[in-house]
Symmetry: C2
Subunit: 304 residues, 2 copies
Amino acid sequence: LPTNEKNIEKLQEGHFQTIAKCISYVENEMEESASFLEQLKANIKTKCIGITGAPGAGKSTLVNALLQKITDKNQKVAVLSVDPSSPFNFGALLGDRIRMADFYLHPNVYIRSLASRGALGGLHPRMVEIVEVLKASWFDYVIIETVGVGQSEVDVAGIADTTVVVVVPEGGDEVQTLKAGVMEIADVFVVNKADRPTAATFVKNLGALSHSKANAIWEIPVLKTIASQQVGVDELLLAIDAHHEISIHNMDRKQWMLAEKVWKILQANVMQAYSKSQVLQLVKQGLQNGEENAYILVKNFLNK
Amino acid sequence: LPTNEKNIEKLQEGHFQTIAKCISYVENEMEESASFLEQLKANIKTKCIGITGAPGAGKSTLVNALLQKITDKNQKVAVLSVDPSSPFNFGALLGDRIRMADFYLHPNVYIRSLASRGALGGLHPRMVEIVEVLKASWFDYVIIETVGVGQSEVDVAGIADTTVVVVVPEGGDEVQTLKAGVMEIADVFVVNKADRPTAATFVKNLGALSHSKANAIWEIPVLKTIASQQVGVDELLLAIDAHHEISIHNMDRKQWMLAEKVWKILQANVMQAYSKSQVLQLVKQGLQNGEENAYILVKNFLNK
């Protein structure tokens, strides 16, 4: 059993098979997974990075470049991929996956692909727990790669210490449209494919926007990369490390993140008393009786 | 009070001031808003359409074109805008808003912009209720315009009868990357800016993908529009009407949508017993005592 002391020791030592077993354990919500999670102690050195951005922005190439830099320094890294189109995800095209084969076999790199499990566009419903497991292990970095579609990128901002938003240079005016949502979750902007002719204006405008939103603690840096040529990746890693250093000392952020987590766990605990099939039954009966008003259905249900 | 009989009559007759008052009422979660919502009866003819897509896809221009067609037929329409960059939203640039002035004053068009209220990228937390109010009024169409960033587009699929996903033609290969999430929520695809040279291949590939995912009830149509020139908008309206006709007779979908709604209302009701400030207090105490494990915090809280 994962709750076994020996097992937790092996998890802390980075034994890949144990890590895989522990993740499957919480992923499938096995019975004792709550008491297992209570035993875990997050490793303070582990930097959890969310990498998000629209399809085609080059997230996977960037993750690949980061793995190269991190392993070059003999550091340890785990990759969780929730992007079904990513080569790090097993749902990907075979050709791409072969290109990644180096890192699949690298002793300092642990890669796991996660289905989104019907939670449309959202992260895996047990993502918080899976990250807890990895944080309790020996990694220097945990990278969550998520596609900027649906809920994933917002959720990831609540889990990662540092959220990197990858964009490709568009016309300078397009910076304006980025503001919706993205500005709130980004800790670092990466303008990938920075060799495109529109890059300079785009970076300038994004930088101005970011500067106008800066606070006393952090101004979102706007970095240029050409991930396919490893250009700008050192600078990205430096920015990630700098942001992590700041964020672990930011008590407001720490409180907010823990409070979000506690709220979700509390909600899951409280709602265990109700089942989705119970609700479906309620709805079926309602429709049969010609009652389609959800508020009345809930009221009657709670009053009975 | 909105629960007043006279008031509900005026809502049903499409009295704009009453509509606005009722929306503000549920938006601000006034005390009796539950009993108000219990009194509403959804108008079966009202078609609720979600329009979603990435920034720059031309959603607002498309909504504008739809408003033109709908009002030409002397039908009634409400627009809810949750996209902060949309000219339908008051957060928008002044220049764009002036361009929309026709419809702001049109007697058959009701426009309301909604803040996302800190729910990062998500819909307004009371969106379900606001749509209920509009459905109980006199509209032929309720259009929800949302930006394809964050949770909004996923949430909207659970509220709208028909979800229209607007995309711009990219290289043919890019269709592959669309699959993540979008395929699951789209009822209709609109390839806008269809006069771009890459459009033909893109539409062909998207059509093939959509065909491969077709079921006995519906195959997602892939429509070409040039919204700025009103091209293809009649066909879009026909597709929306056709999908609505099918979806109101699809009992599985009806059950699923009502069950989702009931679950959310049930959760909100049950969680009323707990407050976010309570959780924040718990977290602050935890951090003071060196207890950062969320599972233990929740366990101790529920046991005390």
